[in-house]
């Protein structure tokens, strides 16, 4: 695809073949994404419904599956990759993750510290 000129309305056979090929490849991407997301959903739901692990382990598995599934969605549905020409968008997302970590992490740290010291009723 990279080398095409802007106004390509070409009807060459090879082009059509190539388009069909990339289309199939992209369809596979979505199918992979769907399958992986499905598995990463079923694992935590299954564990909570039928498992008998300790609460701590279950939380870790839920968290890990959630993070993995977010990555899967970004990779397979939103097409965010490490490719060179999309760097500024990756930068945007990584910066957002940084700010989210600061804000969410900071909030939890500050408030649970407060609860622990001053408002034990609010501890879950």
């Amino acid at each position: 695809m990279n080398q095409h000129t802007v106004s390509s309305r070409s009807t060459h056979r090879s082009d059509a073949d190539e388009t069909a090929h990339t289309k199939r490849a992209e369809q596979r991407t979505y199918l992979w994404g769907f399958g992986l997301a499905l598995i990463l959903t079923l694992i935590p739901f299954g564990l909570v419904a039928f498992g008998s692990l300790s609460a701590g382990t279950i939380y870790i598995v839920i968290g890990a599956c959630a993070i993995l599934q977010v990555v899967v969605h970004f990779r397979f549905f939103l097409h965010i990759t490490l490719a060179r020409n999309k760097r500024e968008d990756l930068q945007l997302i990584l910066f957002t993750v940084l700010i989210l970590t600061i804000m969410v992490g900071g909030t939890l740290w500050i408030l649970f510290n407060l609860y622990y010291r001053m408002m034990p009723d609010m501890l879950p």
Partner: protein, 702 residues
């Protein structure tokens, strides 16, 4: 929620009139306060009537609509933002004067009721932050940034009109609260549980919530618009490290807007849920926790401080370099310092509530982070001083503001470091020391920056320079007035006077509050001088015309086009070869204004009523929510949705300016340029300055 409401008027009734209370309980105090409040309300109505009458008299309604309100031109939108800012500045300064006078005579009483005083400091703070500072800096960035990066418009011009509409709606809501009172008494930060309906069931807090929400939405959209523009629409060759410093600060401010505004949206939305739908986020009972609000508010509030200050840093950088006739010293260091400040500003919000009750090590960490921000800021101060070093400095009005800034801002920064020490903060938090500190940052920092920027770029926008003498008088009055009004507050704070006190009972405060009161009067005089400056400048505009477009021997691209610039900014998009792009062009052999080989058709966004519509429906929705007029909320909400969907169906979104027309206009200007006499920098402030600078004197440091 608590009392039955009229189906049309909601809970709006006679008691909303500012003099109603005095009619019911005619004590001296009530009557004095009613006269002041009604006078303010009458001025709003009168101002509106005069404006309407003037427009009708000069038959300018159609002109206002088609040339301004529906214009997607970033330059016009920028000017409208600044007009909002100046109107709101005038109101908030008058409120400040009333507060200072109240405290000057506030021993054992004063003339304002506590309720009235509470409304004054709440509207003063809310207006200064959301409806003066934000529109002012948004307006200046709107006007200047696209010109500096060599583009014809922002990425999303229609969204820009919507941003303007939302800010205007919020400002209008605050103005309406003078006529249909009251406004909140909860301060600009609106802390619960005081602002919960249990303590404050009236319309005041709701006015505050919706005015702030409108402003927040506007700023979020603005931030996205600016950031995408700077990312995607730079002229060819305008690489990151060739951007003018003002554009860098505009970018960092937009990033802070994008990520710093959402916490406030969340905080005010949750407070609204508490008040309207009986949620329990911040209530004192049923599992609510007001510290959640304070945490969210300052997660916004601290980035906000840097949203306000960074563009001013950018403006001062341009001024120091332009009026010293030198390239900016330490450009790379300044860029890195700006970026560092932007990121660090997200890591310090806890210093606004050191006394909450968290453990000492958390306080220590946030205190250290706070002091760290002083480092990049210090780098900037040194860079600016070194830019002036050995330069040919001209003391024009922008430079006076800039030098006032650099001295006063350092003092404010030092008091900030004092406040960043948690153990000290335990002693002086919530005192006037804090008030003195943040005014010390925001008046010399933000406000001087904006006024300096106005003096700097006014000739670009309107084609004539602002008058210098009155400008200087205004600048000196600002500097002196600021020092007199706020340095005493440091002393008062250390003496233990709490902020937001309507009255006090400690005679030792009196001399200090008196000096501060006189300082406030000097600031009021400064405001009058600003008005006079504008008046005289408009009167003598023919004397001060700068058709050449470059009155200060500028360095960046905005000076390369005519004053005022054509609506498409650049007849041909320039190609950039280095920093200080226009200065480079002037020094190169090719001449300052090369004639392009050929012109092409230019596509510009077509006029749109979207901003006016969304602004109007936004205002009506907010007003309906404030007074529980649910029919109005639903009607205005529905109209908003219909307008947005209908906009999707339109296809006539652009119009074209032909190459021939561009050619003709450019030719006219080039001919005019050829007829101008170039002036040296010594003549810059005289009427010989027609906007065409002579080549620099031999041997001058460049």
């Amino acid at each position: 929620m608590n009392h039955e409401s009229h189906w049309v008027l909601g809970r709006l009734d006679w008691s909303a009139l500012p003099f109603w209370d005095a009619l019911q309980h005619p004590t001296t105090m009530n009557i004095v306060n009613a006269i002041i409040a009604s006078g303010a309300g009458a001025m709003v109505i009168l101002g509106g009537l005069i404006a309407a009458a003037a427009l009708t008299w000069t038959k300018r309604w159609r002109w206002l609509w088609s040339e301004w309100l529906t214009s997607p031109d970033h330059k016009k939108i920028g000017i409208m933002f600044i007009v909002i800012a100046l109107v709101m500045l005038a109101r908030a300064v008058i409120e400040a004067v009333f507060m200072r006078l109240q405290q000057a005579v506030g021993l054992d009483g004063g003339f304002l009721t506590a309720e009235h005083f509470g409304q004054l400091f709440t509207t003063h703070g809310t207006i200064m932050v959301f409806f003066m500072a934000m529109p002012f800096l948004t307006g200046i960035i709107n006007y200047v940034m696209p010109l500096q990066i060599g583009t014809r418009d922002l990425s999303f011009p229609v969204m820009n009109t919507i941003s303007l509409g939302l800010t205007a709606a919020g400002a209008a809501l605050v103005m309406v609260s003078l006529v249909l009172a009251p406004f909140s008494t909860g301060g600009w930060s609106g802390y619960p549980s005081f602002t919960e309906s249990a303590a404050n069931p009236g319309a005041g807090v709701d006015y505050w919530i919706w005015a702030v929400t409108l402003s927040t939405l506007s700023s979020t959209l603005t931030g996205i618009n600016f950031a995408v523009t700077i990312y995607k629409k730079r002229a060819p060759g305008m690489t990151w490290f060739r951007l003018p410093l003002f554009t860098w600060t505009a970018l960092c401010t937009s990033i802070l807007m994008i990520f710093g505004m959402p916490p406030l949206t969340v905080a005010t939305a949750l407070l609204a849920l508490d008040r309207y739908l009986d949620f329990h986020f911040f209530t004192a009972d049923l599992g609510g926790n007001m510290m959640n609000y304070i945490n969210l508010f300052w997660a916004f509030g601290h980035p906000e401080v840097y949203i306000l200050i960074l563009p001013a840093f950018g403006i001062f950088s341009e001024i120091f370099s332009t009026f010293s006739g030198k390239t900016l010293y330490g450009y790379t260091a300044l860029v890195i310092a700006t970026l560092a400040i932007a990121v660090l500003s997200f890591t310090v919000w806890l210093h606004h509530f050191f006394t909450m009750g968290q453990s000492a090590h958390i306080n220590a960490i946030f205190g250290i982070a706070t002091m760290l921000i002083g480092v990049p800021t210090g780098v900037k101060i040194y860079d600016w001083m070194l830019t002036m070093f050995r330069g040919r400095i001209r003391f024009s009005v922008p430079m006076i503001y800039a030098i006032g800034f650099i001295m006063l801002f350092v003092l404010g920064g030092l008091t900030g470091v004092i406040l960043a020490v948690p153990s000290v903060d335990y002693q002086i938090h919530n005192s006037l020391f804090l008030v003195a500190h943040f005014h010390n940052m925001l008046i010399p920092g933000l406000l001087f920056g904006m006024l300096a920027g106005t003096n700097l770029w006014f000739p670009k926008a309107f084609g004539f320079r602002l008058e210098e003498r009155w400008g200087r008088r205004a600048a000196y009055c600002w500097i002196v007035g600021f020092m007199m009004a706020f340095f005493p507050l440091y002393a008062l704070g250390v003496l233990g006077m709490p902020r937001r006190s309507a009255a006090f009972f400690e005679p030792t405060y009196l001399p200090w509050t008196l000096i501060a009161g006189i300082g406030a009067i000097v600031i009021l005089v400064a405001m009058l001088f600003l008005l006079l400056q504008l008046w005289v400048s408009v009167r003598d505009r023919e004397l001060n015309r700068v058709p050449g477009g470059d009155p200060w021997d500028g360095r960046s691209l905005e000076w390369s086009v005519s004053s005022p610039p054509p609506e498409y900014n650049f007849p041909v998009i320039p190609e950039i070869h280095g920093r200080d792009a226009y200065m480079r062009q002037k020094e190169s052999g090719g001449g300052a204004h090369p004639r392009p080989d050929d012109y092409t058709d230019i596509t510009m966004p077509a006029n749109t009523a979207m901003g006016a519509i969304i602004g109007m429906t936004g205002f009506l929705m907010a007003f309906g929510l404030t007074w529980y007029e649910w029919w109005l909320v639903m009607a205005a909400g529905g109209a908003t949705l219909v307008a947005l969907v209908a906009r999707g169906f339109t296809r006539q979104r652009t119009r074209t300016i032909t190459a021939a027309e561009v050619h003709r206009q450019h030719d006219t200007w080039l001919r005019e340029l050829a007829s101008l006499r170039p002036v040296t920098r010594a003549e810059e402030q005289s009427s010989a300055n027609r906007g065409l600078p002579a080549s620099p004197v031999e041997g001058a440091v460049q």
